[in-house]
Symmetry: none
Subunit: 70 residues, 2 copies
């Protein structure tokens, strides 16, 4: 017995997507998505191995962003 685990472990489940997914959503090459991440234009998380993962929420927002760049 070692299961006191209350049960509130995952409040925000960030759905992360791969560069390939983002590339398909934006209609660009996966390498371009990686360039965005490296340039700091696209926020996301990085795995300890250097791979990129992006939040679907952010991607969705950019996709639905019907405005001009400030």
């Amino acid at each position: 017995m070692h299961t006191p685990e209350p049960e509130p472990p995952f409040p925000p489940l960030p759905e992360l997507v791969t560069p390939g997914e983002v590339a398909a959503l934006f209609g660009v090459d996966a390498k371009t998505v990686t360039r965005w991440a490296l340039s700091g234009r696209l926020p996301g998380v990085r795995t300890p191995s250097g791979h990129h993962r992006f939040r679907r929420h952010d991607i969705d927002r950019l996709l639905h962003q019907s405005g001009s760049t400030p």
Copy 2:
């Protein structure tokens, strides 16, 4: 710096999470998380049976290394 470090009365409770949880947080497969641990990329504890447990603090730190929404 001057940190008297008051030595806590008893050791802090390390919140340990399973490979599956870490995998969900990073958007990768659980096996990948195990591979990180075996490669020494991800600090963690190992049970006598060979199962991995990671500190939520370490995972959180790696996740928070990158922000969101620019």
